[in-house]
C-alpha cells in the first residue's frame, strides 16, 4: 500500500511495530490456559443426532451448516466476479509434450474415483465435499493444461447451472426441511445422513467446476 520502494526508515519502523505486535500477541497466547477442550464435548454429545459419524463433517454440514452455505456462496460470487472482469484466457495451448499428453489419460479417471471415495468417506472419516471438490478441480486443471476445452454446448446456461448446483441444493434442502422440523436447516433425524450426503455430492461437483472456472480466469465464450 505504501508507494514503491518504501524509505528504509519506514521499513524499519514498520518492522519494529510488527515485532512489538508479535511479542504482545505471543505473550497473550502463552497466557491462555494450556488445557481446554473447547466445544469438543458438546459436539461429541450431539454426534448421535447429527446424521454423520465424523465430527468435522457434522460441524461443517449440520451444526454450522449455515456458515458452509454462505461460504459456498462466497466461492460462487468470486467466480462471478472473475467472469465479470474478463473473458476466459485459456493457458497457452501449444500442443503439450508426450508425457503431459499421456498423464491425464491415466490420472483423471483415478482422481474422479478418488473424489467419489473422499465424498463417501466424509460421513465416517476425514473427507467430504470440499476435499472431493478440490480433487475434481485439480483433475479439471490438469485437463485444461493439456489442451482440452469445454465443449461449446456446455459453455451456456448448463455450465451456470452446474456452478450454482451446490448452493442451490443447499438452499433447497434448508428451506424444504422447515415444514418438517420447524426450523431452517433442521434435518429430521431419520433422513439427516442421506440429506447431508446429497448436499455434499452436489457441493463437491459444483466446487470442482467452480475451481476449474476460476483457473480459466474468465467467462468461457464471452467476447470482450
Amino acid at each position: 500500500m505504501t508507494p514503491r520502494g518504501a524509505a528504509p526508515w519506514l521499513r524499519f519502523s514498520v518492522a519494529l511495530l510488527l515485532v512489538g505486535m508479535f511479542a504482545a500477541l505471543a505473550w497473550v497466547l502463552l497466557g491462555l490456559p494450556p488445557r481446554s477442550a473447547g466445544l469438543q464435548p458438546q459436539v461429541a454429545a450431539q454426534m448421535a443426532v447429527s446424521g454423520v459419524d465424523h465430527p468435522v463433517t457434522a460441524v461443517l454440514l449440520n451444526f454450522r451448516g449455515y456458515d458452509t452455505l454462505l461460504e459456498m456462496a462466497v466461492l460462487l460470487l468470486a467466480c462471478l466476479g472473475v467472469w465479470s472482469l474478463s473473458p476466459a484466457v485459456p493457458p497457452t495451448d501449444e500442443t503439450p509434450g508426450a508425457m503431459l499428453a499421456a498423464l491425464p489419460r491415466q490420472l483423471v479417471p483415478l482422481m474422479v474415483l478418488m473424489a467419489g471415495y473422499l465424498l463417501w468417506r466424509g460421513a465416517t472419516g476425514p473427507g467430504g465435499a470440499f476435499q472431493a471438490g478440490a480433487v475434481l478441480g485439480a483433475a479439471g486443471v490438469l485437463l485444461l493444461l493439456t489442451g482440452w476445452r469445454l465443449p461449446v454446448r456446455w459453455q451456456g446456461w448448463r455450465l451456470r447451472l452446474l456452478l450454482i448446483a451446490g448452493v442451490g441444493m443447499f438452499v433447497l434442502v434448508a428451506l424444504a426441511v422447515v415444514p418438517a422440523s420447524g426450523v431452517l436447516l433442521g434435518y429430521p433425524l431419520p433422513v439427516a445422513g442421506t440429506l447431508i450426503l446429497l448436499i455434499e455430492a452436489l457441493a463437491g461437483l459444483s466446487i470442482g467446476v467452480t475451481l476449474m472456472a476460476l483457473f480459466l480466469g474468465g467467462e468461457p465464450g464471452a467476447s470482450r
Binding site: T92, P126, G127, F130, V135, G137, A138, L211, F215
Partner: protein, 94 residues
C-alpha cells in the same frame, strides 16, 4: 516413551522453523517464479503441520486447495503476466 516424545518435539520444532523460513523466503526472494514455487512448498509443509495437529481434514483441504490449486492459479497468472510483458516490450520496440 521419552524418545518418542523427544522425536515428536524435534519434528515439530523442525516443522515450525522450516515453515517460518519458507514464509520469509517467499516474501523476500528475488524472482517471482521462485516465490510461487516456494509458496507451493510452504503449502505442503503446512499440510504436514496440520497432520501433526491431528487435523486430517484440514491437511487434505490444504494440500488440495491451498498448495495445489492456489499454486496453479499463481503459476498461470505469472505465465500470463510474462506474456503481457513480452507483448508490451514488443509493442514498445516496434
Amino acid at each position: 516413551m521419552a524418545i518418542a516424545t523427544l522425536l515428536g518435539w524435534a519434528l515439530d520444532g523442525l516443522l515450525m522453523l522450516v515453515l517460518l523460513w519458507l514464509a520469509w523466503r517467499v516474501l523476500a526472494c528475488k524472482g517471482l517464479f521462485r516465490a510461487v514455487v516456494l509458496f507451493i512448498a510452504f503449502g505442503l509443509v503446512l499440510s504436514l503441520v496440520w497432520v501433526r495437529l491431528d487435523a486430517p481434514d484440514v491437511a487434505l483441504a490444504e494440500a488440495a486447495i491451498g498448495a495445489g490449486l492456489t499454486g496453479a492459479l499463481l503459476l498461470s497468472t505469472l505465465a500470463r503476466l510474462d506474456a503481457l510483458d513480452a507483448k508490451q516490450d514488443e509493442d514498445a520496440s516496434s
